[in-house]
């Protein structure tokens, strides 16, 4: 089965797909290793060049696929690629441009790709990552962004596509910008995002939180936040907090304790099965920042999601009450994703079609 006929506007049939394309060495494999596999950025120096399409299925709050294309392949020019199989699903084309290199050829190839897509698969969002901007001055970054934007928009309007869904992001794997960019890309693909945002906004009001983020734990992409404006600093601290919790959990939470210890713990003075001594199945954590005595709280929602919220100064003693309110919202979030999942499967049915050729 080759993926069926051309899909209609925005028809979500299966799992959303992120397609990583761009010139060789532009940083595609590094990006997917850092974001989805927690590879330390410095270790990307040892990555081998990608020879064939790497398809990965991300087990996450919303299962999606990441396809990493080798830089030298132009899928529109290479016979044997089944376009429907690649672009038929709803998703995003992430085009990576190395900002530290001469980018004219990359922009030209991107332009022709966008034109091809606009004609046949206008449901695909086009996300341009102007990448490796670490080490570039802020002025220079903006200059490059302006230049690339103009080159693309001119070309598009020459061909009569004024409103193509093209978005630009300045990114680097050496800081949070790459995660922030992915957050924005993913958020566009979440059905009923508004409902999620409303839930978080209401939680912030009840608990007097300054800011709340719902994170995909493995990738540290935030998939929703309340209506207060996002600032990089609050996103970064919440995202770093998740790292701390993941790191601690790896060291202490992944090896089985002995039966002997369990027997001891269930005996004097507690006299209770261990399960009954525990108040929470999902992990919860709180940190109190010295500056202004400001707490930040974190709560696992399920295997993939965590809620992180920055609280008002001096409110650490309100944690019991906060936890009760958070419990309610967490239940709501679980329901939300149950429903979304059920819908997605109902329409999409089986998994993604395979690419038409091996190379």
């Amino acid at each position: 089965e080759g993926g069926g006929g051309p899909s209609g506007q925005g028809a979500a049939r299966g799992k959303p797909r992120l397609l990583l394309m761009g010139q060789r060495r532009s940083g595609k494999s590094s990006i997917s290793s850092v974001v989805f596999h927690k590879m330390p950025p410095s270790e990307t120096l040892f990555l081998e060049s990608t020879a064939r399409v790497q398809k990965e299925s991300m087990k996450s709050f919303m299962d999606f696929h990441v396809w990493d294309f080798p830089g030298q392949i132009d899928v529109f020019d290479t016979p044997g690629y089944d376009m429907d199989a690649i672009f038929g699903e709803i998703g995003a084309l992430i085009w990576v441009i190395d900002a530290q290199d001469d980018y004219l050829e990359a922009v030209a190839r991107l332009n022709s790709t966008i034109l091809d897509l606009q004609r046949q698969y206008s449901n695909i969002n086009i996300e341009v990552f102007i990448h490796k901007v670490d080490g570039l001055s802020d002025d220079y970054k903006l200059d490059i962004q302006r230049d690339i934007t103009i080159r693309i928009q001119d070309e598009l309007s020459d061909h009569g596509f004024e409103n193509a869904p093209v978005t630009f992001h300045l990114t680097s794997i050496y800081n949070h910008s790459i995660f922030e960019a992915f957050s924005k890309v993913i958020q566009k693909l979440i059905p009923r995002l508004g409902t999620l945002e409303a839930m978080l906004t209401s939680l912030c009001r009840t608990c007097r939180f300054e800011k709340a983020y719902l994170f995909d734990v493995l990738s540290k992409i935030y998939i929703a936040t309340d209506s207060a404006p996002v600032d990089m600093a609050s996103y970064e601290i919440c995202s770093d907090y998740i790292d701390v919790i993941i790191d601690i959990s790896e060291v202490y939470g992944t090896w089985p304790r002995s039966e002997e210890q369990r027997r001891q713990l269930e005996g004097e003075p507690w006299n209770m099965p261990l399960e009954d001594q525990i108040s929470t199945v999902w992990a919860e954590s709180c940190v109190v920042i010295s500056d202004g005595n400001k707490p930040i709280m974190l709560r696992e929602v399920d295997t993939y999601l965590a809620l992180v919220a920055i609280m008002k100064e001096g409110t650490h003693d309100k944690m019991p009450l906060v936890n009760m309110n958070v419990d309610v919202v967490v239940k709501g979030l679980i329901d939300f994703f149950e429903i979304t999942k059920a819908k997605g499967q109902g329409i999409g049915g089986v998994g993604p079609p395979e690419l038409g050729q091996e190379s």
Partner: protein
């Protein structure tokens, strides 16, 4: 008049660019790894008195490694530099193009050290291991430290022979050995903390006393594990684990936790906009169905980490007990103070 004993020096040596000032700045001055790219070559010797806990001051000599300086240390400044040394930390750059030459310089340093401070502890850091592919790191480290070991042995032999010929220096001893401890390090991961925690370990006064009290606390709160961190460096000063805690297969967890908590402190500093040298956080807890963790500002100069079996009541009672116990450890903050024995019950 009673003379204060001179504080023993900690010498930091190695070729220029090998990374000495970088690691010192990360461990003791809250630098981020990437900040070290801005460091210039050290001119002559950079002396610093690093306060560690309340009652230990490290007399750290960061010796600029350019050849002219090295020659000067070995000649004009020989007595000045090499006498009264407690610890020598010698740094080898794994990326060096002339290992033979590095080893020759190392040998000259050893010789000066044996002459003026024969009892000094020697630590060898094979540094910048991040530049080696992960799968090759172990074998490259083994190979390089073996060469250092061989060089040290050869020198020890010749030194023993040499001293034997000096009249009045006792009986000749052909297997006289010089002990060294090697570590693979990089500023980009926790390996740096492992090396420096070992270096610091032998210098901390009252260690046995601290350990005894840590054990008491650990048992009282049913902890699996306790770590006591110095607040600026986040090096582990003292450690205790229960029988169960010792079953944890992550043998590098002390340096891991140092690294995790110190980078966390630096993240918070970015968020709060206050200097990295500030306290940044005073409390962190974590509860799950498998275990609980408390990290808490313990005494003025220390943080305590406690890993506990799961359970709400257990957690609350442990937290209370830790707060009470912190008074027992207050001596850690008093300069020059030696621990008084606690009164007999």
């Amino acid at each position: 008049a009673i003379k204060k004993p001179k504080k023993k020096k900690v010498l930091l040596m190695g070729k220029s660019g090998s990374g000495k000032s970088s690691m010192r700045s990360i461990i003791f001055s809250n630098y981020l790894a990437k900040d070290t790219r801005r460091l210039g070559a050290t001119i002559d010797i950079d002396l610093s008195h690093v306060k560690f806990l309340g009652n230990l001051t490290l007399n750290l000599w960061d010796c600029g490694g350019q050849e002219a300086f090295m020659e000067n240390y070995l000649s004009q400044q020989r007595v000045h530099v090499f006498s009264n040394v407690g610890v020598l930390i010698y740094v080898f750059d794994i990326d060096s193009h002339d290992v033979e030459r590095d080893l020759a310089t190392y040998q000259s340093i050893l010789s000066a050290l044996q002459q003026f401070s024969p009892g000094a502890n020697i630590f060898i850091l094979i540094h910048k291991m991040d530049l080696v592919k992960p799968e090759l790191r172990e074998s490259v480290f083994t190979e390089r430290s073996q060469r250092v070991r061989d060089k040290t042995k050869a020198f020890a032999k010749s030194w023993a022979r040499h001293t034997a010929q000096v009249p009045g220096s006792g009986s000749p001893n052909e297997d006289e050995d010089i002990e060294i401890q090697e570590f693979a390090t990089s500023i980009w991961d926790q390996s740096l903390y492992k090396a420096w925690a070992s270096i610091i370990h032998d210098l901390v006064p009252n260690l046995a006393y601290i350990e005894k009290h840590l054990e008491q606390l650990g048992k009282a709160i049913e902890a699996e594990e306790l770590m006591l961190f110095e607040r600026t460096s986040f090096l582990v000063v003292s450690y205790w684990a229960s029988k169960e805690g010792m079953r944890n297969p992550y043998s590098d967890r002390q340096e891991r936790m140092s690294n995790i908590l110190k980078s966390w402190k630096q993240s918070i500093s970015r968020f709060s906009g206050t200097p990295r040298s500030n306290e940044q956080f005073r409390f962190l807890d974590f509860k799950s169905s498998g275990f609980s963790v408390i990290v808490i500002k313990f005494t003025i100069n220390t943080f305590l980490l406690a890993v506990l079996p799961p359970g709400e009541a257990r957690f609350n009672s442990a937290k209370l007990n830790i707060e009470i116990a912190s008074e027992t450890f207050a001596f850690l903050d008093v300069p020059g103070q030696y621990a008084k024995q606690p009164a007999q019950p």
